[in-house]
Subunit: 331 residues, 2 copies
């Protein structure tokens, strides 16, 4: 490896040769937004667009990791390959418990054909969803045609992540209590499969029939929402989940639905790329530390409000004016 | 009320006259980013900069709402006024439980001098923190000099919200188990007071002494982190919490620390306003539905990657070129 410029080319060459270490390195570059990540993504993007992204979500303790584990083993049993991305916008309070989940899933890394990546927490609002999407693109460019994306399902960001999957399976446990009453409409509307896991526990059948009842009225565009019972930990019902996932794949293949999904994802990728492009522009060209200090001083002193300051800065920058702080004007 | 233009002026007049209904209306406009919200904020901003923002955070079930309730009653007992903003990026799964909390806190609305506002979930990543900041600015402009901001403390957004407070109190309960081990460093670093609530439960003293031990080494810039025991539900320890909050206020008043906090908030307000300004520009001037469709089609067809598309769009827009979709170029 020679200079930095050469090493990016070398990294890409090794990635293309199928080296797992190169894959891990590319993912890290992309996830951490290291210099050159955009060029990397641009180079890889043409090799994407065919993989299936399956989202698995549900409340903490619903057994998502276990189901992902069982699905991956089943899929790789025939020599298949599965890329897994575990998204965990870790709670600052429950980090310990969630980590336990991850450690358990670590076993999967011994299964041939499986590649697992846990996404680290990212401070940037909305950044996690974009980074997750990019990591699945990298995995796809590497050759994975089936991607499982697992999120702990406790917020808006997870809904955004799921929205970038082709198929979403939503897990419940009998103890959910209020059952679907506690679910925001948004989550049901982006889900395609409903799974009552830990089905040996009391209340499982009732929850399933309650779900069935509510979902019957929600049949949409020819898709009937399946409600499945499973005990992922014992492998029970996992083949049926896989079957239902396949059915949704067949469903998407018909009547131009896959193309519609692809266009939706393309539009999202464009918006994300543009937002990051503009963000870079903002911080490199508009909001220099000197300018922030200058304007913050005026704002704190009460001689300017941030909205007028933003308008001023933005108009200046669009007009291509000099961007060094101007003299204080009396207003 | 006459035409829309007149009604904004009228709303501001009623707000300035101290009408609570006008306050609620202004908050809604700002929270929901209704047309004209920027002008409203710009008009109100000069009246801000003096209020104290106290953040109360901690894991679900730590008793944050109860503590906020007791603090507010204590503060308003002497005829004081307190604005409360409850931030709740509601989990799609635990919405029910969190709502219970809110309902309980509803009692406070009968206390003279108290104004409570719950922030609704916002889909926009990072938007919640900005909207919360703006709502506290509105409350301040209305005349509230003390603001309590409560978040359920389960993610990055809450850390951002807390970062916009002058003083942050972090709540624990003995059952936290691993105690501070489960806390991300980021949360400790933005907190100034540490409270072990439900102190009658087993393990409270041990947790407090563990906290004391760890925090002793973290004394920073002359501030010693207090660790307090409380039973908010019985009112025990609440006066001590208030005392510690006052001490931090005194601490901030010295050696230009308050000015440093004000500059930090001003810089944040500027960045937020600029990001929203640019976002508006993006969606109104750059990303028209026709252009999204055009580019998404090329991206989905594999003839263009989103990163290059974003560069192209952005350069065009900076150059002030016509913004209608160009003819497909062969590349």
């Amino acid at each position: 490896m020679a200079e930095p410029g050469g090493s990016a080319v070398e990294l890409l060459r090794r990635f293309e040769a199928g080296e797992r270490l190169a894959l891990a390195r590319v993912i890290s570059k992309v996830e951490n937004r290291e210099p050159g990540y955009r060029e990397l993504l641009a180079a890889l993007y043409p090799r994407t667009g065919r993989a299936r992204r399956i989202g698995i979500t549900g409340p903490p303790g619903a057994g998502k990791s276990t189901l992902v584990d069982r699905l991956a083993r089943l899929l790789c049993g025939d020599g298949g390959r599965v890329g897994i991305v575990a998204v965990d916008p870790t709670s600052p309070f429950t980090g310990g418990a969630l980590l336990g989940d991850r450690v358990r899933m670590g076993d999967l890394s011994d299964v041939p054909g499986v590649f697992i990546r846990s996404m680290a927490t990212r401070g940037v609002g909305g950044g996690l969803a974009a980074a997750t999407r990019d990591v699945t693109l990298v995995l796809e460019a590497f050759g994975f045609e089936l991607l499982l994306v697992e999120t702990v399902g406790v917020g808006q960001i997870e809904i955004e992540v799921m929205n970038l999957c082709d198929t979403v399976a939503l897990l419940f446990v009998p103890e959910s209590g209020d059952g679907i009453q506690t679910l925001k409409a948004g989550l049901i509307e982006i889900s395609h499969l409903f799974i009552v896991n830990k089905a040996d526990r009391p209340g499982a059948l009732q929850l399933a029939s309650e779900l069935d009842h509510v979902l019957k009225e929600r049949r949409r565009d020819g898709w009937t929402y399946p409600v499945l019972l499973a005990e992922a930990v014992n492998g029970k019902g996992v083949a049926e989940v896989l079957g239902a996932l396949q059915e949704h794949c067949t469903y998407l293949a018909a009547e131009g639905r896959r193309q519609a999904v692809r266009l939706r994802h393309a539009a999202h990728d464009l918006e994300t790329a543009l937002r990051e492009r503009v963000r870079t522009y903002l911080y490199s060209e508009v909001l220099s530390p000197a300018r922030i200090d200058h304007y913050a001083g005026r704002i704190a002193a009460g001689t300017l409000d941030p909205y007028r300051a933003a308008d001023e800065l933005w108009q200046e920058s669009l007009a291509g004016d000099a961007i060094e702080p101007k003299q204080e004007s009396s207003r």
